[in-house]
Symmetry: C2
């Protein structure tokens, strides 16, 4: 049985060692960022609730890593360099000090890995489930944040990595995936890992600043997020579903059950980047993405003006999705 | 019965009208701050849970206002000019659209009142109680944030406004204050209001930047917060409790039950500013505070070096506090 720590002890023992210079050793009630001259600050925040956004019995290190990475994924899609983050943690009545120590260790490892130090936060108790929210800060040269509203007519639309792995991994994690038994274990493991641990595409951030007209991260499903990005940009688009990149594991799952393709393109938690590029900029963009080591795939193109997003299947026929996106809400 | 809104509808109808320019009409997944050249950004975050930090049946406008104001109080104590905030809202299963509309209206009124626009946020659902956290941003000329660690030997220690009103108001709100019956109703109302609606001391921010060596807001009780500020500054202090400023209502309550003085100086939620000033800077500081319209009271002085904080009663005798500060944790 581990003794329970007070709030001050939690801060001093678990979190102060993670603090960057702007965190002022967590001795202050505020944190400080001195942005480079001529920089804009990009702000993003995501909240996660046990039982809604993650499983309460997930490893604490993985919960911490996911909370930070979903925010880093937003920064990546905006072309921003990480500068630090604030953590708000609401602990339920049965919280344990060793759980918290593991959580802080996982958070510290990722803060180091992504050069995004802890700057401060707040720890409270809740009679409800464990909840946390992270607010992350990034910097971009003034005026260069990649916006969701920036798709222009005739832009070519790309997505990074592979789509649907996390949604399939979640089905496996929930244990209600009959198809899981037919899939080789290494594929199952890959899909489960993709659900548990997002890989923010920070390697793309400079490439996005240099080449993308618009960008967002895919967190609520490709179909819904694409629809949202084009709606707020005010342009139509045509998407070829056959081009949507699947992993080897995702392709194998679809081979077992064709309906899993819909799960893949409407499920959430991809944390890949969706973006648009001018038609005459594609070659340079693809070369830059390759140099950054991130696979990108052209999946369609924007139209000439306002209008809906048309999805076409491999047979060339239009496809409709009853539920375009996953909603945690 | 009001129809329930989707997350996108909540954002569009309740929160988008509150968004400042950096909020990008809440159409993006990130927000933007373009800090003035040569500015530092001050960051602070506070989480509030229904049943822990406020009453679930408090007016929604007041819950919103409190959530924003506790953060503005932090900015004020750091000498920062408000620049905007992010809101994270976790809604319980029984949330109602009309509750949310009232909440958003209260938030918008305060965002306008304090020139601190909404920049973005995240809305999720929770099986637990309503929870919210606000991260607020302020700016200061580079290097001029007023730190908690800045008390110097021989500094004079001041506090703004009056102490203990909110702690007494909370007792009245809980209905377990036998002394409440002996207190005139206008005093009771004043104390309850001081609990419900903090008044962030933003009028002091320039004064603090110009005159204070150290500052923090009093949120967890004067005795505990003073002890914390002096400990992290590494200096001792002597505090004369007879000097601690009470409101007319607070003084009347203490007259009914002398033990309420301890409640006043150890209770939380004051949201006044505690600060230190060089001995030869007191006259200028007091004049500047008066010009800003904020009452300030000298309550003691720092010693020559490291050591504890000594509290002395009106009789000159040392006073110890079993529980120096209120902890929500």
């Amino acid at each position: 049985m581990t003794a329970r720590l007070s709030e001050d002890e939690i801060i001093a023992t678990c979190f102060a060692p993670l603090a960057g210079p702007g965190g002022l050793r967590l001795l202050d009630d505020a944190a400080l960022i001195s942005p480079p001259e001529g920089a804009d600050l990009v702000l993003t925040t995501d909240a996660l609730v046990a039982g809604v956004h993650f499983f309460a019995d997930d490893p604490p290190e993985a919960i911490a890593a996911k909370a930070l990475r979903v925010n880093l994924s937003d920064l990546a899609a905006k072309g921003a360099d990480p500068a630090g983050f604030l953590l708000t943690l609401a602990l339920p009545p049965d919280w344990r000090s060793d759980w918290l120590a593991d959580f802080a260790r996982g958070l510290g490892e990722d803060a180091g890995r992504y050069a995004c130090p802890l700057l401060g936060g707040d720890t409270v108790r809740t009679p409800g489930p464990l909840s946390l929210s992270i607010t992350a800060f990034g910097t971009v040269p003034r005026g260069s944040m990649v916006k969701r509203t920036g798709v222009r007519p005739d832009d070519v639309i790309y997505v990074s990595g592979t789509i649907g792995d996390a949604a399939l991994g979640l089905q496996l994690r929930l244990g209600d995936a009959a198809w899981g038994g037919a899939l080789p274990e290494e594929h199952c493991q890959f899909l489960r890992d993709r659900y548990l641990l997002p890989q923010p595409r920070l390697a793309l951030r400079q490439v996005l600043r240099d080449h993308a007209h618009a960008g967002m991260d895919v967190s609520d499903g490709l179909v819904g997020d694409l629809t949202k990005m084009l709606r707020v940009s005010g342009v139509s688009a045509e998407i070829e579903l056959a081009r949507v990149p699947l992993s080897a594991a995702g392709a194998a799952a679809r081979h077992i059950a064709a309906s899993l393709f819909d799960t893949a393109v409407t499920g959430g938690d991809d944390y890949e980047v969706l973006l648009s590029v001018a038609p005459d900029g594609c070659r340079a963009f693809e070369a830059a993405a390759a140099a950054a080591g991130v696979p990108v795939t052209m999946i369609g193109a924007a139209g000439q003006g306002a209008g809906p997003v048309a999805f076409r299947g491999a047979d060339g026929q239009p496809r409709m999705f009853a539920k375009g996106s996953f909603s945690h809400f």
